[in-house]
Amino acid sequence: MKNDLLKKLVDLYAGHELPSELEQEMEVAAVTDFAMKADMVSLRETVDTLQSDPGPEFTEESYQRILMKLYARGAAIQPKAPAPAHLQYHLPIQG
């Protein structure tokens, strides 16, 4: 396949959407086409970086705060587990 046609497939290559035979054909063509190679490599790195992002942590504190917001707004909701002691509200000790 001509390089002009292969260049149109760079977005699919970056997203791992091509069959392996076509991926290999692109990689062979990229050996002599530095601009296409740079495009392929940098775009795939971008996709791989995004896809390996673990994302924000859904902490126990966030889980409980959302439950409290739901309670406060009148939703009938039963948590599977009670809130840990450090997240429960306490009355101040009278001295």
């Binding site: 775009l43 994302g55 939703a75 909701i77 599977k80």
Partner: protein, 172 residues
Amino acid sequence: MAEKRWLTALSEGDPNALGGIYELYGERIFRYTFRMLGNRTDAEDATAETFLRVVRRSAELRADGAFRTWLFRIARNLCIDKLRQHKLMELPPDAQYSGAEERTTLRVTVHQALNDLPLEYREPLIYCDLEEMSAKEAADILKISVPALKSRLYRGRRALRDKLGSAMERTP
């Protein structure tokens, strides 16, 4: 099919149903809203409000497989409302994620670059690359065609790549 069971229970007024749905989808909706809004407090608010709207509209629910799309649409609308409020009040997003691994320079740079992208490009990246949804599901949430979604996704990836530029080259 836990989803079907909880949705049926919710439509029948079972008081345990919302808890079940929250257990199933709470984390995904929180992660999504955090990625859209860029801070934990707003993400918690938007997640709670999403589930409250599920309860309020439980009469419309059908356990036909489209629930997740509907749920993400509710969360998306809430996020867009909040983003508009931020814009009006000129509040910058706080893109700090907790967790040692997430504090690496590249991750912070990626999150900042993502937040700088126009929403039109940012959303397909969140759905398809970060939340690992299919193009069809992402297109359904955005109410656009799959080719339109893919066009935005590919342009978004290129825009993000250009913003990241040298930061990616410096990372081994």
